[in-house]
Symmetry: C2
Subunit: 399 residues, 2 copies
Amino acid sequence: MTVTTPAGFRAAGVTAGLKPSGRSDLALVVNDGPLAVAAGVFTTNRVVAAPVVWSRTAVADGVARAVVLNSGGANACTGPEGFADTHRTAEHLAAALGIDSQDVLVCSTGLIGERLPMEKLLAGIDAAVAAVADRSTDGGDAAAAAIMTTDTVAKTVHVPGPDASDDATGPAWSVGGMAKGAGMLAPGLATMLVVLTTDAVVDAERADAALRGATRRTFDRVDSDGCMSTNDTVLLLASGASGVTPGAGELEAALELACAKLARALVADAEGASHDIAVTVRNASSEDAAVAVARAVTRSNLFKAAIFGNDPNWGRVLAAAGTVPESVAPYDPLTLDVSINGVQVCRAGGVGEDRTLVDLAGAREVRVELDLHAGDAEATVWTNDLTHDYVHENSAYST
Amino acid sequence: MTVTTPAGFRAAGVTAGLKPSGRSDLALVVNDGPLAVAAGVFTTNRVVAAPVVWSRTAVADGVARAVVLNSGGANACTGPEGFADTHRTAEHLAAALGIDSQDVLVCSTGLIGERLPMEKLLAGIDAAVAAVADRSTDGGDAAAAAIMTTDTVAKTVHVPGPDASDDATGPAWSVGGMAKGAGMLAPGLATMLVVLTTDAVVDAERADAALRGATRRTFDRVDSDGCMSTNDTVLLLASGASGVTPGAGELEAALELACAKLARALVADAEGASHDIAVTVRNASSEDAAVAVARAVTRSNLFKAAIFGNDPNWGRVLAAAGTVPESVAPYDPLTLDVSINGVQVCRAGGVGEDRTLVDLAGAREVRVELDLHAGDAEATVWTNDLTHDYVHENSAYST
């Protein structure tokens, strides 16, 4: 149940030898059509990796026929030579598949500031092309495994469209997907690479709007450590192989659900985390205000360290909320209520129920709810606790 | 060499019993005049502790005769009752000293969301008043010790004014100070309480301008963990006891130097840090742009964790810089240079000198220099690395 579950897609994951670990590190997804519709959302970081520069341009016409993704190297901060490497990657795959290089999208993830070993990578592409030529094997799961870096599990998703109403054959189309990412998750995306596929009939404009809407409410509301990657990419490929055009809102709903499931899986696998934390801000003056306050809480190292210590330290929630300017999120600090896992530990800006009633030690999931009493908008941002393992993993990553 | 070194000040530090540890926890600084000039800078957090609400108002007229500071409890998020506690604290001290309660400033630090044990605190004030009545003892160091929370050392400073030019008696006036703070350091101040004293002759307007200028370039450029406290307070008291009015810029320079030394001491004592990190941004289009980029780097958990691992991971410096909008800090990502402890590891946005030439293992201090090639402005922001001990200390703090 992955990128190859919708009709019209083939995929492979192979070992090109980019990773010291010897694990698989190169993935390929091919859209066999009949449509070759594509959309992409990329990091908003001003320092972007070469593959982002390439793919942003290549997808701008709404057409793509293949995506090649490598782990084992981000190809970021590698100068003009790094861009030439990405260009060569696209040309090589295009030649092997007999398509235009402008219809090839490229994604990379791994260490910043190091060139990719191109001979290994190009040989890996040949191996991946050979693998997808063998139609007896479904390479969807292998592709999802090949894009992992510090991920502990491969992340895939499949969301069927609504059942066809006039017969019992089940959904006519679906959305599949795969993602990698286990840290550096931040708004404007994360070090996350995501490929979504659908066999629905959709044009480029609808694909782009649907992908942006879904991303804004899912991946953009995951904030593992406040750090924004140079490589974040979310791609949607549509083959049209089902022959069915989804009704109004149907593709959008399925896509958002697929993105939500993958985003949740990213949080659950965040580097070194022991708790998944959902910060929900209610009764804000606007959705943007709710997101801003929730984001401030999810970015507080002190709050996140407290949760690691199973300490329902609501004072740190308030201190973080207080850093959001009134122009962004109007509220009266003396009316704020906070509940943690259902216990209202803060009432009207002061002490509420006994904090010892909150038992965090036994719960992976922590639900923080902050009521602003300033309107009726609401948003949830997900993060993780700040742990010894996070520090360890991120201090040892490049060594 | 502390708050009592300038003439006209008395201080004390006593044990009121607010801290479970039994260490001293209540400090008093009295300005004997002849002037009673005061200025204050406070947290910009919208969620502020009761003593901040009180002191902000009390200092607005530029007059104060005493400051009482307690550790062992922040009196934040304690509602109207918490404000009544602060009010009562000021009234009690004012009565004991025979002054107006509006001339008493109050500072608190410690856990958020708990009421202070007022009977103990008021008895502590009586003890402190008795201590300052004994003029044979200099309580400056005792006061600095009594405001410590997770600080490992008391932080004091003394900066003499310029030598008088017409005799050999040395400086006619000076600036003294004390500070507490060892975490939650952030712009718009930190969980830091600072009291500065001077025996220079200065009016309220000059004191306020000098304090704001000094704070902006010192305490506001320390960012230990990006978290902003509810209690931050920096106070300046001027006694005028030297009878000397400093020349243009002289008081301002001495005050800024005193603040810079205390800010540096706060970084050096930050919770669980193993490296002090100075991020200097050069050739920015404006000082604000330089500060914004430097601050983005000092707030990157990934960068800070890398430094803990003695990894000169310059890619994380660029990734952090790239999160600053172009409207705030214009620069071309392909021209960025980064050096770490003098080794230019990144040149023109790509790989520079061999990163293994940077030896961080033996250095407490790490100097990161980022050249934007976009102007001639410069700024430095200080932070610390993100360590196991930071996580431990901040997860265990309230338990």
